[in-house]
Symmetry: C2
Subunit: 135 residues, 2 copies
């Protein structure tokens, strides 16, 4: 099957400079705030985003090289398949966070619930609509 | 900023052969069932997935070429930024569905809530843990 190329639409600015500082899931870091800077050529794409309380952000784990098909979640002792975990060392290195939107203005989206490292490439943003997700 | 290459880990088998047949959001198609076939080199990665009731599936909108920074959601008349919609004609063409897991066995994951077209490339699977998402 063919492979696909993805191009970052923005970059995260967060308080976490390296692995180990960032919380493992965004809920644990819900006090922390961060920003997403949208690149110029994509700014028009965030118009209307401010009406949502939460957003889904897809990002690229750019500090990880390679992957393992097994991972052991924090606090557990037995490994399982990487797709049954949120491990960053996963095929395609795509991370997902649900973030609380504070403000979207110009090319800057302010949010809380940060769990991304500073400088993380952002590859997509989607509105989070609880009714559609939770079924 | 550099671009990244992503490689499908599997392929969806669904009843929807072309655009217009698939429901717009997975909730509307919750009766419909489908399967994800995991490619051989990634099978080990789904071990343990069966304990989750719902899974997050990231897939590639491979029937779409190009993108538009504005989109008009179904039933609305005013366009807004594509990142404030679930439009498939988005930068990086990555779709997200939360699916109800029926069974994971061998290299086949059976699910309901299908909204992907038949043959859609799958690029990631993550456990859906409501407490972590909904904050």
């Amino acid at each position: 099957m063919k492979s696909y190329s993805i191009e970052p639409i923005g970059i995260a600015h967060t308080p976490y400079k390296e692995r180990g500082q960032a919380p493992r899931q965004s809920i644990y870091g819900k006090e922390g705030q961060g920003e997403i800077e949208i690149f110029n050529s994509f700014i028009e794409g965030i118009q209307g985003l401010e009406k949502y309380e939460y957003i889904i952000v897809l990002f690229y784990f750019d500090r990880i090289s390679g992957y393992s098909l097994k991972a052991t979640p924090p606090g557990e002792v037995i490994s399982r398949g990487v797709f049954a975990t949120r491990s960053p060392a996963r095929p395609n290195h795509i991370g997902l966070s649900v973030l609380k939107l504070i403000k979207a203005e110009g090319n800057i989206i302010k949010f809380s619930g940060v769990d991304m490292l500073d400088g993380t490439p952002i590859i997509d943003i989607k509105p989070y609509v609880r009714e559609l997700e939770s079924k």
